[in-house]
């Protein structure tokens, strides 16, 4: 049998090819095909199809005449009808436009935010090989994962592990807080600084503006500063290179020469700092603190390409244990750029983190967009059935189904594009506020891909919303429409109702979530955390203060309005440092307890206002207290000590006497439970001065202090942080999420209500005659309002029944993130449900009351 040329390819060719070329091309192709199919039919078919595709080019494509030769005129007609419809039904047009534009705006804003979150830390050139060394601490009750590692680790890893191409150590600028300052010879400027190993700028892609990235930190006397810091210190970044400056950290100070100026760091970098000093200096500062049991450094590594990280992690598990007998830590490499979004660990496994918020908002964005599209769809169908007569007339005049579909789709697309234009304008207008809430620097750059994506979304929404009326309505028989035999089908009504229910389910879930997030944050901010942070300020120990702490603090305490002064190494707003190096009488071999530890000065109890369960705190009445220590109740319980006062414990090889037991207080945040804690008395290396102000007039006290600072600590600015504001700052992330979620939930409700409003108007209009007849037969206004509202009430009630359990599950899940959290009360849900119902009634009542008040003669006289 003769092999036939591929049918579809031939069809395609005949469809597009110029008539005057077709015969020749087809003939040649078939001749070739017949020749080749003698050898291999399959190859010949492939070749034939490929050749046909190759002909699909302008020279061979015919001019396509439109089926309706007045194509452009038809389009003009469609646009004109669209325009007239918009004018005729202004309210539904505006509702549609506003709803869709708002929905799109939300989606765009969320998209920008999510995009920024996802791009964080991803810009490093070696991103794929850049890993952070985390440590898994095996402790009683599980594995705790921490970001810090011993300062000796980087060097050892680079030397001993072949898979690790490069390892660099650095420190966190937060550890030194406000204690770092730089001077150009005249004035000290505060700046946030870090120490980093020599390869730091090769490992992380922070490009240099002046100077070389390689070995910029080789010399102990070198410093690399940011462009903006250079401008601050020397007036211009251009000639900062090779200038010398003086840096100061507590009582450490030295000269350094600028060996590099790096470009200001991108905002989507989690590492933010103004200058970098060589890590060798940090080693000197650490002194004998530099050993395998002390975790005071960040270590990051570049692995060789193609390394299997799981295998490497297994191999490294005993790395530190081999160096340090009795160590309980295992290193674990985690991709650096993953730490931002997946920064939480459970039992040594990555367990989410910020990604939760990213997902949450993506879902919210999608929800809002869906709600807006549903509105659009509902209103289009509802409105379209008012235009049945138009369809009937058009069809009798010979309009084909395709023409009608085209008309409705045009209308929907025009609408969607209008909404997009508004949405872009809204986004521009709202972006500054949005940035303020999110604490980001987002910009709307209309890149081709972004615009392409938007247009894609808009076309999709437009087609989706327009398809139902277009396909459904265009299929009616004109004779039925014009005779008035038309009734909205049951499916149509059900679809519409279903969509409304869905909208309200989404809205209710959002309202409940917002309420619970808000409650939880409020709870965290007002919970009695066991000490009085009100009126306590934190001032860095710097300048003159470091020369003679004792007399400095005594004099500071004499400033009018200052009630108590103390000092510590803990900031009481973040987790500080911890130790496992405590032994006590009766300690069993191998017990490991993590103690949050802080150096502390006299009067720490009075200043922070926590209570003592037993004994006393440090006081200068008793002279030198260096051999004394106080614990909190949690620590005493963990150690299992009875009658602890007077007992001796051993901290880092020094014997300490317990003089007091503090009641438990939340020294950091409510994200974590109260852990065992100890204060040990020291008179040096106390980076934070704590001052308790007279709360009656804190402003006066602050200005007194500022004056005092000018005289007693010249060259430094009086920079302070209130502990309570610092405490609140920890909830910044939640607060931002909460605020944003509130806005978006508001938007979702408004859009849902808009839809309901328009739908109510539509129903009222459709039932005009029924209402007229009922009124004539004696129905009261109230009966009619009730009749019209009943439908909507049922829908909202159904939405409540579905929405509340869903939101209960979600809320429970979210609250598990907090060690201390509110209990879910029934009334959170009751309020949300009731609110949804009331809002729905209010929205609908506007329309129903209007309908009930219409004079029946007006609605019945026609026809």
């Amino acid at each position: 049998m003769k092999v036939q040329a591929p049918k579809y390819a031939l069809k395609f060719l005949r469809w597009f090819c110029r008539k005057d070329y077709l015969e020749e091309i087809e003939g040649d192709l078939i001749e070739l095909f017949e020749l080749q199919s003698a050898e291999s039919p399959a190859a010949a078919k492939r070749k034939f199809t490929w050749s046909v595709v190759r002909y699909f080019r302008p020279e061979f494509i015919k001019l396509f005449p439109s089926q309706n030769s007045k194509f452009i005129i038809m389009q003009q007609h469609n646009l004109k009808i669209t325009y007239r419809t918009f004018l005729r039904y202004k309210s539904s047009f505006l509702i549609n436009l506003f709803g869709l534009a708002t929905g799109l705006t939300c989606a765009i804003l969320i998209f920008l935010w999510v995009n920024d979150e996802l791009s964080t830390d991803k810009f490093h050139e070696h991103d794929a090989q850049l890993y952070h060394v985390m440590l898994n601490h095996e402790e009683d009750g599980g594995i705790r994962t921490d970001t810090s590692s011993p300062g000796l680790l980087a060097e050892a890893l680079e030397e001993e592990v072949p898979e690790i191409k490069m390892a660099v150590e650095d420190s966190d600028p937060l550890w030194f807080g406000e204690n770092f300052s730089l001077s150009d010879g005249e004035k000290f400027h505060k700046a946030s600084g870090k120490f980093a190993g020599d390869g730091y700028f090769e490992m992380y892609s922070f490009p240099m503006k002046y100077g070389q990235a390689d070995h910029a930190l080789k010399d102990k006397k070198s410093v690399v500063i940011s462009e903006s810091l250079a401008t601050r210190l020397f007036g211009s970044s251009k000639d900062a290179l090779n200038k010398s400056l003086e840096w100061k950290l507590l009582h450490f100070t030295s000269q350094a020469t600028v060996t590099g100026v790096f470009k200001n760091l991108p905002t989507n970098s989690t590492q933010q700092f103004d200058f970098v000093l060589p890590f060798s200096l940090f080693k000197d500062i650490l002194g004998d603190g530099l050993h395998w049991g002390n975790y005071n450094t960040y270590t990051s590594v570049l692995v060789t390409p193609g390394t299997n990280i799981n295998q490497l992690n297994q191999k490294l598990a005993d790395f530190i244990k081999n160096k340090n007998q009795g160590s309980n830590v295992s290193p674990m490499l985690v991709k650096f750029s993953d730490l931002y979004l997946y920064g939480q660990f459970e039992n040594g496994q990555q367990a989410g983190g910020r990604i939760m918020y990213v997902r949450l908002f993506s879902v919210i964005g999608l929800f809002v967009l869906i709600i807006a599209s549903i509105n659009f769809m509902n209103l289009s169908t509802a409105r379209a059935s008012r235009r049945l007569k138009e369809i009937g007339v058009k069809k009798s005049l010979g309009a084909g189904r395709k023409t009608l579909i085209a008309q409705y789709l045009t209308e929907a697309l025009v609408m969607a594009f209008l909404a997009l234009i508004f949405a872009i304008a809204f986004t521009y207008a709202l972006l500054p506020q949005f940035n303020q809430i999110t604490g980001k620097v987002l910009t709307l750059t209309l890149s081709p891909t972004f615009i392409g994506g938007l247009i894609g979304i808009v076309i999709f929404t437009g087609l989706l919303a327009g398809s139902y009326p277009a396909l459904y309505l265009s299929g009616f028989k004109p004779i039925n429409i014009l005779k008035g035999h038309f009734r909205g089908s049951a499916t149509e009504a059900w679809t519409r109702k279903g969509l409304v229910v869905f909208q309200f389910v989404l809205s209710i879930v959002m309202v409940v979530s917002v309420l619970i997030v808000y409650k939880q944050i409020n709870f965290a901010l007002t919970k009695n955390i066991g000490y009085d942070r009100n009126g306590v300020i934190l001032v860095p120990m710097e300048g003159k203060a470091t020369e003679n702490i004792e007399s400095y603090l005594t004099r500071l305490g004499e400033v009018p309005g200052v009630e108590h002064v103390s000092a510590s190494s803990h900031t009481f707003t973040q987790n500080g440092s911890f130790t496992t190096g405590v032994s006590w009488p009766g300690k069993t071999e191998g017990t490991i307890i993590k103690f949050e530890q802080s150096r502390a000065y006299y009067d720490i109890q009075q200043t922070l206002g926590f209570e003592m369960a037993e004994g006393r705190s440090f006081s200068n009445q008793y002279g030198d207290e260096t051999s004394k220590i106080i614990f909190n109740e949690a620590a005493i319980e963990a150690m299992g000590l009875e009658d602890p006062i007077g007992k001796k414990v051993n901290l880092w090889g020094e014997e300490k006497e317990i003089i007091g037991v503090m009641k438990n207080f939340n020294y950091s945040s409510l994200h974590s439970k109260v852990e065992p804690m100890l204060f040990h008395f020291k008179t040096d290396f106390l980076p934070n001065i704590l001052i308790k102000l007279n709360t009656k007039n804190p402003r006066n006290v602050l200005s007194n202090l500022r004056e005092w600072y000018k005289i007693n600590n010249p060259g430094y600015n009086f920079d302070y942080t209130f502990l309570d504001t610092a405490y609140e700052a920890q909830y910044k992330a939640e607060e931002r999420v909460s605020l944003l979620a509130r806005y978006f939930a508001g938007v979702a409700i408004v859009i849902s209500c808009l839809g309901l409003f328009a739908l109510a108007a539509f129903t009222a209009e459709r039932r005009q005659k029924e209402i007229g007849v009922r009124k004539i037969l004696g129905a009261s206004h109230f009966t009619i309002v009730r009749l019209l509202s009943a439908d909507f009430t049922k829908m909202v009630l159904l939405a409540i029944v579905i929405g509340l359990p869903v939101s209960y599950v979600m809320a429970n899940f979210w609250l598990q993130n907090f060690a201390y959290h509110i209990n879910l009360e029934w009334w959170y849900f009751a309020i949300s449900g009731a609110a949804a119902l009331v809002i729905a009634w209010l929205t609908v009542s506007f329309q129903t009351i209007k309908a009930a008040q219409t004079n029946p003669s007006a609605s019945l006289k026609e026809e």
């Binding site: 015969e23 020749e24 070739l32 050749s51 002909y55 080019r57």
Partner: protein, 108 residues
């Protein structure tokens, strides 16, 4: 008006049309070219070249008679025009003169 130009592939096709005189149509041109060039050529490329050259006036075409081959489709035969021939002559002259200007270089 701009002098019509002749692309490299077009020139090959034109030469083939001239060589096959009166027997030149899509498939025959293709097959002969493939043999001479010793590489695969797609038929669409031949057609593009032919159509362009017909527009420029280098070739003329006519339909052949209906046969039972090719599913009953007529062949379209091409012949070179005087203008096309002149173009080929010019190209040939140009190349030859340039070639003769090559100094005698020994590559050994």
């Amino acid at each position: 008006m701009k002098e019509p130009s002749l692309g490299e592939f077009e020139e090959l096709v034109l030469l083939m049309v001239a060589a096959l005189h009166d027997e030149a149509y899509g498939v025959s041109i293709l097959e002969n070219l493939e043999t001479k060039l010793d590489k695969r050529v797609n038929i669409s490329a031949i057609h593009v070249a032919l159509k362009r050259m017909e527009e420029k006036g280098f070739v003329q075409s006519r339909f052949g008679g209906i046969t039972n081959d090719r599913g009953g489709r007529r062949k379209k035969f091409y012949i070179i025009t005087a203008f096309g021939k002149k173009m080929l002559d010019q190209q040939y002259a140009l190349r030859t003169s340039l070639y003769q200007e090559i100094p005698k270089i020994s590559f050994n």
